[in-house]
């Protein structure tokens, strides 16, 4: 939960503990605290971001073409499909469970959509809705078997991994691969469709929106907190954070504008990330997910219906898997038998874990799906450009994946040895 990063500044109540190190006000205090955090290994996602920068640097060094706007578009565009699977998985991982079926469900969803809209000529948007509902129902069914019958989630979703793949093959059976028309959602998600038609203002508008809404909401919260007499973020910190976000957002917009603009599927992904983040951190439903992931028995005793949470979370995962499947299909404009690629499952889990979501439940953020996919896609972009043999490619992929997490792990180890598990 990001709340625990909120620092204590000039709290006027009596309960404050004299042993708590007060941060000096102003930017200086912020820097001091940052130094202390580095020493204590309490760095949030900084290590992974550093890992990402290192990956970019190494690949740019090896291949001058890597450092180009087209690579940016490549990463931004191709990470979305698997990123959506990963986003759904974050919900499941927060419960401390796993969903092995997301790859199969994504393949099935693409096939289902193709059969409905191409073979049966259904309105493509209606087909999209039916597909997403279908994904959610599949997830809910799996969640129900897990929550109510008590079959371990691993087994349920492993059965799903096989079963839904079978259903997909059966659906595609008579026709094999089905090419999707360049219209509707498939067009919207395709690599040729950019925000505001790729107009140069598009990226900057998005960046401005993000920075402004972050700054405004932080300031509003600061005001409420101040008037309620509870600790609040100092203005200097809000400015610093907004500035950092601005650098990232405008930087990304600039790079993407160098090529053709911000891909629409990235815009969709970001929008969904923001919504999911809001649900997880600002609603009591999200709070319950964290609680169940932290301690099932305590949640049950607190009156939370654990089964309802589980079923709904698997439904969410199923719906995201279905959407991810449509996004993946749109990258090849076709739904094929290889749609249920188990590699997608692996990459989706890896992304969430690399981004910092724990496999053991109760700890994580939706942004880990974004961060992890940035890492994975950046590696892939580089490896594809180098045109290596597959054996070397696999080896590099393995080593780089590991390296991307090692910094994070080392800092966590420091954290642990200073007593903060």
């Amino acid at each position: 939960m990001s709340n625990d990063t909120k620092t204590q500044a000039s709290a006027p109540t009596s309960a404050v503990d004299p042993r708590l190190l007060q941060r000096e006000s102003g930017l200086q205090g912020y820097l001091n605290e940052f130094k202390r955090k580095i020493r204590g290994g309490d760095l949030g996602s900084l290590p992974v971001v550093v890992g990402l920068l290192v990956i970019w640097a190494v690949f740019s060094f090896n291949d001058s073409k890597y450092f180009a706007a087209t690579t940016g578009t490549f990463v931004a565009y191709y990470m979305v499909g698997v990123g959506l699977l990963s986003l759904g998985l974050v919900f499941v991982l927060l419960l401390g469970e796993i969903d092995l079926s997301v790859g199969a469900v994504s393949g099935l969803a693409a096939a289902f959509f193709a059969v409905l809209s191409v073979n049966h000529g259904m309105n493509p948007w209606l087909a999209v809705v039916l597909t997403l509902v279908g994904g959610a129902l599949i997830g809910a069914l799996q969640g129900w078997i897990f929550a109510k019958i008590g079959v371990p989630a691993f087994v349920v979703t492993l059965a799903g991994f096989l079963g839904w793949q079978g259903v997909m093959l059966w659906l595609l059976g008579s026709t094999g691969t089905i090419n999707l028309p360049d219209s509707g959602l498939n067009h919207f998600l395709s690599g040729n469709s950019f925000f505001l038609g790729g107009d140069i203002s598009g990226g900057y508008i998005l960046a401005l929106l993000a920075v402004a809404s972050m700054a405004v909401s932080s300031l509003l919260e600061q005001r409420r907190r101040r008037s309620a007499g509870v600790p609040f973020r100092p203005t200097s910190e809000i400015v610093l954070r907004s500035a950092l976000l601005a650098v990232g957002a405008f930087g990304a917009a600039f790079v993407l504008n160098q090529d053709r603009g911000v891909p629409n599927d990235l815009v969709l992904f970001l929008a969904l990330l923001i919504i999911a983040d809001f649900v997880l951190r600002r609603t009591s439903y999200g709070r319950k997910i964290f609680a169940v992931g932290g301690n099932i028995e305590a949640s049950r005793r607190a009156g939370i219906s654990v089964s309802a949470i589980r079923i709904s979370v698997y439904a969410i995962s199923g719906a995201f898997a279905a959407l991810g499947g449509l996004a993946i299909a749109s990258t090849t404009s076709a739904a094929g038998q290889a749609g249920a690629d188990p590699n997608n499952l692996m990459m989706a889990i890896a992304a969430a874990v690399i981004g910092g979501t724990s496999l053991f439940g109760g700890r994580g953020r939706v942004w880990s799906a974004l961060l992890g996919m940035l890492v994975i896609s950046s590696i892939q972009a580089g490896l594809y450009m180098l045109g290596l043999n597959l054996d070397i490619q696999y080896m590099i992929m393995g080593v780089v994946l590991l390296a991307a997490v090692v910094v994070d792990s080392l800092s966590r180890r420091t954290q642990k040895s200073s007593g903060r598990a």
Binding site: L169, T177, N179, S190, I328, A334, Q380, M385
Partner: protein, 336 residues
Amino acid sequence: SSSSSSTSAAGGSQTIGLLLPENTTTRYEQFDKPLFEAKVKALAPSATIQYANAGGSAQTQAQQVQTMINAGVKVLVVDAQDAAQIKSSVQAAHDKGIKVVAYDRLAQGPVDAYVSFDNEKVGELQGQGLLNAMGPAATPSAKVVEIDGDSADPNAADFKKGFTTAVQGKVNIAYDASGLWKPDVAAQKATAAFNQLGAKNVAGVYSANDGMAAGIVTSMKNAGVTAPIGGQDAQLDAVQRIVAGTQAYTVYKAYKPEAEAAAQLAVDLLNGQSISSVATVTKTSLSGNSVPSDLLTPVLLTKTNIKDTVVADGLYQVSQICTADFAAACKAAGLQ
């Protein structure tokens, strides 16, 4: 090597992209890639080659095509993992003015040239090879076990179709299942088939490729099935089995002419020359595009023509085939 080539090419003006589909079969990185590279080097020393292997994923292949488009290649030689799914990638390349050569599998979309073996013909040869090996045992009631390739691979359907055409009515296909191109799966399915039919009743076994045949041969030995079996690809291990007599035949698709024809087409397209001298026929793909094509003829490889084919073509040295384990069999077969 190819990895340094992509950096050296100025603006990618002379770059050819080579995209191969997977790595579970030996041929791609072992033969196709080096043969293709050598020929291009000979024809156009200034051209560079960018290479990618999709590892069996159509989605990865799409990303690899995009990478090459970004890198500014002029010609793409694509062995599609999924001939239908590649369509939008082919279209994207075409839109950028990049010429596309379909390699081995006829990709959908606006392809400029196609070089391949006739896959149905491969299946037919396999059928013929099996009938030959069965000899008089090939009767309409003779039970044959058929292990096909992965149905996600469109070529598997072509092989099956050709095979069926060749053996229809001549033998009885008593068991038919997909081995997913995986040797261990094929071995288990074959064993299950033998259990189902009774080991003694099996008169012949069809394996869609040599990789699976390795597993099936083991199953046959375990179950005591003595019927003939064959595959395709002329893998080294398959040639060894043919020498040893545990496999009856394989289909040898001479990679060298295929790779060299592709290289010729690619260089010609790169230089803006006519390709009509190489691509002499026209094939229509499933997307309706007529593609100038060069279709090569596969060869049925048995114990008798090893020397004249794979050895003569320089694919394998005799010493590679005749390792210690196969020395005796090699002598008997007159290879050594």
